[in-house]
Symmetry: C2
């Protein structure tokens, strides 16, 4: 597999976005965060998303220029209307806005309604954690129906991703999870590859567990993604889904009641300054959490070949490797990018 340097890939994606009219700051930000996402190993949400974004820009879904409208703002909490601007850029701007507010008040939050897709939440949480802050990000798409409430059969909400990032000794801890066992992207990928899931992580239209992604991608009536906990204790996943709906749709004042049909997302972003908590001083948070991470990593593993990892460890190794060796892409992603480069007269990455 041919690999390309991070810098070359960023310049390439940036040029693609600018070629369809995206503002310079937004194009640079989206390109940087998508390449970072690939370096972190979350390949469904890196440059594999670029052709989908470019197609949605062409049909007028993803907006390429403008600013969010501020709905309300008291200096600590705010609501932004994202006007379907790039979600990665909007959340990155929200984090930049929230950091000085958290330095003052300890916590600060922005609920964003009508954003476009926000991509990889862990890459965004890292933007705050790298600077010494705790970030909580909760996201849902009011236009998507892929998960049923616990005990139900009809897909009603999205996987509802949720991320937490906080600083660590060598690299941040980055938790990126969601209320369903598997995700929309994984389901599409499995279906496109003609594969079944290893475990029955979906439900058919009657609520029977199945490994077949076609229940969501092809069948009528449609099935749904199983909640975390599945049939045994899916009330736990359902609880998480409700929390994320309340933060991202309730607090932004926009959601499923408005029945939007456009690809988008609502996002709750909160930044916490641990220096304003942790009474004993600036290092108390780090002392506790670094101690905890080390106790996790040295925990005797079930399988000696698979030591315990803390979330964020693998991403940090991926970034290190990408910086050294560059990043390679699968044939399908690279072909789609090559087609767009041809159509938009953008040069492929040089190195």
């Amino acid at each position: 597999m041919t690999t390309h340097s991070i810098a070359a890939l960023e310049a390439f994606a940036n040029a693609l976005y600018q070629a369809v009219g995206m503002d310079e700051d937004k194009a640079a930000c989206v390109a940087r965060l998508q390449v970072l996402t690939d370096a972190m190993g979350r390949r469904t949400h890196g440059l594999a998303m670029t052709p989908l974004y470019l197609a949605d820009i062409k049909k007028g879904g993803l907006k390429v220029s403008g600013q969010p409208q501020v709905g309300s703002d008291n200096g600590t909490s705010a609501v932004w209307d994202g006007d379907y601007l790039p979600g990665l850029w909007l959340v990155n701007e929200a984090i930049a806005t929230l950091i000085p507010r958290a330095e003052k008040a300890g916590i600060a939050a922005i609920a964003i309604r009508r954003s476009h897709h926000i991509g990889c939440l862990a890459a965004l949480a890292k933007q705050a954690a790298d600077r010494g802050f705790v970030a909580l990000i909760a996201n849902s798409d009011p236009a998507g129906q892929r998960v049923a409430p616990y005990g139900g059969t009809e897909a009603l909400f999205t996987p509802n991703p949720f991320a937490v990032g906080y600083p660590g000794a060598d690299h941040p801890v980055l938790v990126d999870t969601c209320a369903s066992i598997t995700t929309t992207s994984m389901t599409r990928q499995k279906y496109a590859a003609g594969e079944q899931f290893e475990h029955p992580w979906l439900l058919d239209a009657e609520g029977r567990p199945t490994r077949d992604p076609a229940v969501l991608e092809h069948s009528t009536p449609r099935g749904s993604l199983q909640l975390v906990g599945g049939g045994e204790y899916g009330h736990k996943g359902f609880g998480l889904a409700l929390m994320i709906e309340a933060l991202s749709q309730g607090l932004s004042g926009h959601g499923r009641k408005d029945a939007p049909s456009r690809w988008g997302g609502n996002t709750f972003v909160q930044v916490i300054d641990p220096r304003m908590f942790a009474g004993a001083g600036a290092d108390a948070f780090a002392e506790q959490m670094d101690h905890f991470s080390e106790r996790c990593r040295e925990n005797r593993p079930i399988d000696p070949a698979r030591p315990v990892r803390v979330p964020g460890d693998q991403a940090a190794r991926g970034i290190e490797q990408a910086r050294r060796d560059g990043i390679g892409y699968d044939a399908a992603t690279w072909q789609a990018l090559t087609r767009w480069a041809g159509e938009l007269s953008v040069a492929m990455p040089a190195h």
Copy 2:
């Protein structure tokens, strides 16, 4: 089973706590919230906890008098040192402190270190949700080791409960969950009853799934509670556990590094005023979330005999029933309470 009225049970528990020297305000608060917990149906955390609290007061673990020390406070965020005062009272005080702050800033939070056990998180979240606020509560006990990190064999942290409450049309939505599939209380109850769990929700000391509560309550070396997601996707439960550790121990600046051996808890309490978000006005949050709850309840169920419930629905029905019919207790709980009433010369509930 004999039942007693809510008022009589509250007066009884209040008298027990005051008989061992607890301040009047604390005794009344703990009694009220424990009886509420029973009414909500969370029977492991209601008056079944009273004998454990009384025993811990007698041996000097649970403090009965005093005030939390304020470690830092900027008007929006604060750290309290709970000095092992009753956790239900401390968190209830924190919520009362946070509500006017949230009305001003939209969000406000207190991290409490060195609290005693905080009881049922849903009953606490309800104290904010009943008044129109969103509450997030995360709790861990740095003295407890019952759950291993994902892929590990050695119990390192607690189930780490987490609750979210928000207002709803008829009653609040109350999510009360944790990072492990089952809980410490359920494990103790199963072990005491000589029962196995229905599913393999624990791991033995080698990390093999088991239904046997003895791996935690009796065996050496000890086993652990399985994370939400178990062997298949326990990284999801582990991620939640890390979030809760960071909020409750990292932000309070006290935790496993201090290796306390005393029964206690660290708690992060956040209150959000949805009226300060939800740009479109005071009702935008309620409109979105009530719509969502209704769509959940009318979702076609897998089993027609078991309609979809929203978390909080069952608690609301339990409270209604308890107000009408009173609350009855199992023999073991009632015997333990009767013994304490005798020892402390407190009259049993009259009606």
